[in-house]
Amino acid sequence: MARPPPPAGPILFPSLLLPFLIATAAAASAAANEEFTEELLLRPLPDRKALAHFYFRSSAPPAASIGRHHHLFPKAISQLVKKYHISELELSFTQGRWNYEQWGGFDPMSTSNAKPPGVELWAVFDLPLSEIDATWKNLTHTLSGLFCASINFLESSTSFSAPRWGFKLNEGNLRYGALPREAVCTENLTPWLKLLPCRDKAGIASLLYRPSIYKGYYHSQKLKLRSSQSLGIILDQTLTVVLQPNTISGKQVQSNHGQLQPSWSMRHLFNRKLSEKCFVSKSSRIFIEVDKGIVDKVNKSGSDLSWNNEFFVLSNGPDRLIKDLNNLEVQSSSIYEYDVSNYTEENPFDVGITWKLPLIWSCTPSPFHASRFLMGSGNERGSIALSFMSTNLHKKKFGSTNDCSIKAVIFQIVPWYVKVYYHSLEIFINGNQKPVSEVVDKIHVTPSEDKLLPGTLEMVLRFPCSMQSATLTLDFDKGFLHIDEYPPDANQGFDIPSALVSFPEFTSARNYPEIDPLLGSPLLENFQEDSVVKSYTEVLLVPLTTPDFSMPYNVITFTCTVLALYFGSLLNALRRRIGEEERELKKTGKLIIEFLFLENSNPHLTSLNSTAVTRHGLIPQLLAKLRGQKVDPTELGSSSESIGSKKLLFKVVFVAVAAVLFHYFSTNS
């Protein structure tokens, strides 16, 4: 860009052409390496809803081979990665809560795509430890600009932390932050779509009709980056939505049993047709996944798990059926695969599921259902409780051995104004209090520092398999904030971000032995990765004491009055000398008397003092006379004074009554 501005005229043409030529040349050399794939997974859910999971992967080869220019890969991302030396990054925007009980807690979908409400960002840097915090701050600002979100609030050291092993094992180069209150809407989706080569103009992304995807029960858009010298940069963009299919009858029927699941198709769910694939994508696939629950039922009924079986029928025949076989070679779930590259605008692709028989199934839950809640009331203190309810999964997995134990890792960030007393950790298992040392294997606490650091708790627990319920409680005091530190809408309360509970002994990896490793489906590859079962707990809302923001004026006036009274009386007490004042008073009295006396007796002196008299004016003279009279109490005494005051009183009352009467009659008439 440092080239001098080209002169107008014939030179303009080559100067316009030059970048284009360079770009095409670069594309020619790198086209083989830069890849883009788009995929969509649809799944019926047990509570009559449908899950849609969009998966887009763009990858760029190592930087050395392509230079600074990209064919498909978004330049903004590659610049970001290079500038901040990111080796891993994940940013998610989520609205709504993942229902771990109904939608599953043990499959790749819930472990890697269920995210806490709001924004969650974590990144691993390939930098010396001392530079990481500064880089994180710059990164948050960049992302905040890139995604039109207030991610820059994560810049302050009070809002992010550096977990060592509770979140993800690392060497101190990971930073984690969450903004539970961030609202998610189209303004965040649009920049996310801009990173796709076809945006939402063609391909699977064209299904993203805003009114239908924002109407859902859960909406989570995620961006995951991995970068290394050997791999280059891999950018995974996923969007997970849970939608309520509109049933034909119009009215949604809630009842679970005795009624058919709603039948739906892609056109129903998204109000859009999928006409063609994004032309630059390497592959473009749509999967329909049926849960283990359904597969079991179908197998039990004796029929074959084809696309048209006893329970349901898919509107199109799939290109392929992929079965997930777990370790015991028992089929758990299966996926019907469709390739959309063959469809055109005249022949749009649509697939749907039509139910034939009522079917009730449930998803595999995580080993423990974790939930978190607040205890206590008032503005002074409270407790955080984390409760685990066993789902008895281990019995299914390991048989009914009761002497085993299950490991659970808890990662929790608490803002500094919630002052947690970590020593007050109490653990109740099956209603009995257990000593902490018996249950906790390993604990790492970073205590919070006021206005500087949030508190971080990382903890490994070991629960006996026979446990039905466990509760952890931690007491806290509520802190006070400075008036500038209150966020807008402070009266809503303050959020404690979700805690993350993971079960490292359980992995949710799928196993597709039949799949061709060269098929190149990043979504299925992702499903096959070893990911630990984890679940996020609820966000908590802590009401703190808030000042009355609407009354700064009152506060100012009150404090000023108090200060004025205080300083006034203090000054008065300090510099007033009562003895001297008395003397002064007597002296002036004497002087006045002398003066009056002189005035009366010696007419020669009046001329001398005339200047003084004129300067004093009428009122001081009157006052002086009054004083003179009073000093001499023998003759006039109090009688004349009381008569005078009565007269005055009478006059004042008369004037007041006259005024009232005048007013009365004037308004009356």
């Binding site: 029960y217 809630q254 008032g378 209603g431 809503q492 966000v539 809302l541 109090s638 009183l649």
Partner: protein
């Protein structure tokens, strides 16, 4: 008055000009103290007049929080929902007819909620046992742990709780709906309120606009509405994790196990929670009325110790009920006041005064119509009374203990229960009202904080804010320090005068001279008397704890034991510390000490529960100010002296707490008889609800009354005897 005062102040200041000038505030104090009788008469009468003027000073309510926007959305509650409610009602009627216990109804409700796709859980609880904990209101509720039923109990209540998770919400906040019903004695209007609750809940489960979770509690009110809701709230906020073992747990939760329905899991239903509660709405259908043209809704808002929900919540309910659904909104009133003749006279007087004042200044709008004034006074009296009693008027009180704004609505429909059309119409309007309130609260981003928390209601849409209702109390309280100072000072100046005139009149002066030898430490004697009496009051207030331990005592026996023990303790304390008269305390000092203590007591009480302090001040302050030894010599004529004596005795009689009970009973119920046991029952009622009024009665009112009696019975001997000695 102010004018007069200022002029007299000017006068006095003019007088003192020759002397070294003391500070203005000191001069003002001295001046007021020297005119303390006039000042206290003026202040007290002004206070009482201001209190009577309160109904005319009431302002119209307005919505402070703009986010509420009530009634801006069209209600979605349709006739289909009303049909749904009818279907539910038929179902539960059938179940209620068959069942003996309450479990079947709970099961039916839970089944219905589950079919709707919402989460459901049960909460079992035991009735609250009566505890004597008068100081409970000081300690936060977190100390009070949840009571869990243990295996041996068969008599327990079951609340059924349904929770809707807001589709796109983050689950941080929740709105609570409560419908109480008695599972033991089923009443058709309670079933109607359950049906109303269910239809609203089912509508909300389909609503896409929810941002806060909805919790519907169908509270089993067999032990009282308050007990069920407070037990649930306690479990929600302060759960107990300790239990004996899971096996016994499952046994205890037998009721939970009865219901496993179609769930294959068979796991017992754990207590479920939503987030922080934003607001709660309790609604029930009361008895149908035969008269009246419109269905009406009665709002109850008073929680424990005079706490009120945010006025905005009441405003939303009132606005939607009146302007959208056409209900008539009432608040509870003292009906006996509505027909009282003296109130009518007062109101007419104020009306004429108001019209005159209005002609002088059109901005003074004090001339409210006579019926309005009477109704406003009846409502205001009830509002003050309920706040002063410190006992919640319904289950909303339980929410206020956890800083949740809550209001109870009682619908009084005017139709016959068999009239299906009228019933459907009523369900439609009731459902729309509840839906509208939920929608408004759902709009809130912050919790209720904009509008008033301290107010009295004179009509459903008229309120008196704290700034206005403080005035009568302040006026009543103002003379107390002045009078106390005047009394204490008056004694000293008397001595000084006596010293001065000692040469002129030896017979009079010597007494004063002798007295002054006691010096300025004389007040210590009075303080000792006060201390002894306060100690007695503390002991008397704690006695019920021991009396309640006596098994099988009737209220009357308990009351008699209480009274006897109190007298015995008083005598014992006098024996230990000496009788108040033996030390030779002057009555003026005694009165000054009493007034000081009562002003401190009332000041403290006004912070805890303003209405109690207000009512207490109305009784105690005239009693204190009037009190004067019956034997005291005065230079008055017979008539004024007789009047003074008579008023002294009447006020002292009125000040006795049981007498106050009698008056309250007479005012509210119209029966003027009271048994000895009633007092005990009344006190039991107060401490059971941990009302601060109990503490006020025994630590402020009773010692003051006893000191008053002491002043009245003061022998006034010392001066005379000393004179005789001379």
């Amino acid at each position: 008055v102010v004018l007069k005062n200022s002029i007299t102040v000017m006068e006095s200041s003019a007088k003192q000009e020759t002397q070294p000038k003391p500070r203005l505030i000191v001069r003002l104090g001295v001046f007021l103290a020297s005119h303390h009788i006039l000042f206290s008469v003026i202040c007290c009468s002004a206070g009482i007049i201001a209190l009577l003027l309160l109904p005319s000073l009431a302002k119209n309510t307005y919505l402070s929080e703009n986010a509420l926007i009530p009634g801006s959305a069209n209600p979605l509650f349709s006739t289909e929902d009303a049909i749904e409610a009818n279907r539910f009602m038929k179902g539960i009627e059938a179940v209620a007819g068959d069942s003996i216990g309450g479990i079947d109804m709970a099961k039916f409700i839970a089944q219905q909620i589950e079919d709707m796709g919402a989460e459901v859980c049960y909460h079992k609880f035991l009735p609250h046992s009566k505890h004597f904990h008068p100081l409970k209101f000081f300690t936060s509720m977190s100390k009070d742990m949840a009571i869990q039923p243990n295996g041996t109990d068969t008599n327990f209540g079951i609340n059924t709780i349904g929770i809707i998770r807001a589709p796109r919400g983050d689950g941080k906040e929740a709105i609570v709906l409560v419908t109480p019903y008695n599972s033991q004695r089923v009443h058709s209007n309670e079933l109607l309120s359950l049906a109303l609750g269910f239809s609203v809940f089912s509508l909300l489960s389909r609503a896409a606009w929810l941002s806060k979770d909805i919790v519907w509690v169908s509270a089993d009110s067999q032990f009282g509405e308050y007990a069920s809701v407070s037990a649930w709230l306690n479990q929600y906020h302060n759960p107990v994790f300790l239990s004996h073992s899971v096996i016994s747990d499952t046994k205890i939760y037998g009721a939970d196990h009865i219901y496993d329905g179609n769930t294959e899991k068979g796991e017992f239903k754990a207590f479920k929670r939503a987030g922080t509660m934003a607001a709660a709405l309790i609604f029930k259908v009361g008895q149908t009325r035969r008269y009246g043209d419109r269905d009406s809704v009665t709002m109850y808002a008073e929680a424990s110790n005079g706490q009120m929900p945010n006025l905005d919540l009441l405003n939303v309910v009132h606005y939607l009920a009146v302007h959208r659904q056409g209900f008539r909104v009432n608040i509870a009133a003292f009906s006996s006041l509505l027909s009282s003749a003296w109130l009518r006279v007062i109101s007419e007087f104020f009306h004429t005064l108001g019209t005159v004042l209005r002609k002088i200044n059109p901005d003074w709008k004090l001339d409210i119509a006579v019926p309005d004034y009477v109704e406003g006074t009846a409502n205001l009296a009830n509002s003050i009374y309920n706040q002063a009693l410190g006992v919640p008027t319904g289950s909303h009180g339980a929410f206020r203990d956890y800083q949740v704004d809550a209001v109870s609505l009682e619908f009084s429909p005017t139709f016959n229960v068999r009239n299906e059309n009228a019933k459907s119409l009523f369900l439609l309007r009731g459902g729309r009202l509840v839906e509208g309130v939920v929608r408004s609260v759902n709009n809130l981003l912050e919790k209720f904080h904009q509008s008033f928390f301290l107010y009295f209601l004179t009509a459903p849409s008229k309120f008196i804010s704290v700034g206005v209702y403080m005035i009568p109390f302040a006026l009543l309280l103002a003379p107390l320090p002045i009078v106390a100072a005047a009394l204490a000072d008056g004694r000293k100046t008397m001595e000084k005068l006596a010293e001065k005139s000692i040469d002129d009149n030896k017979a009079n002066g010597s007494a004063g001279f002798l007295q002054s030898k006691g010096g300025s430490w004389k007040w210590l004697q009075a303080a000792k008397v006060l201390f002894v009496i306060q100690l007695w009051a503390v002991l008397v207030s704690l006695l019920p704890y021991y009396i309640t331990q006596i098994p099988g005592a009737t209220p009357m026996q308990s009351a008699v034991i209480w009274a006897m023990l109190s007298i015995v303790i008083l005598i014992a304390l006098y024996v230990m510390f000496g009788s108040p008269y033996s030390a030779g305390v002057e009555w003026k000092l005694l009165k000054a000490t009493m007034i000081t203590s009562i002003s401190i007591g009332l000041g403290l009480m006004s912070i805890i529960n303003f209405a109690t302090a207000q009512l207490g001040a109305l009784i105690v302050i005239p009693m204190c100010l009037f009190s004067r030894p019956l034997k005291a010599r005065s230079g008055m004529n017979f008539l004024p002296r007789a009047v003074l004596l008579a008023s002294n005795i009447t006020l002292a009689a009125l000040g006795f707490p049981p007498a106050a009970l009698l008056i309250l009973k007479g005012l509210s119920k119209g029966s003027w008889t009271v048994a000895v046991g009633d007092f005990w029952v009344w006190m039991e009622f107060l401490w059971e609800w941990s009302s601060a009024t109990y503490l006020y009665l025994f630590l402020v009112h009773l010692p003051c009354w006893l000191l008053c009696i002491h002043v009245l019975l003061h022998p006034c001997r010392q001066a005379e005897s000393k004179m005789k000695q001379e």
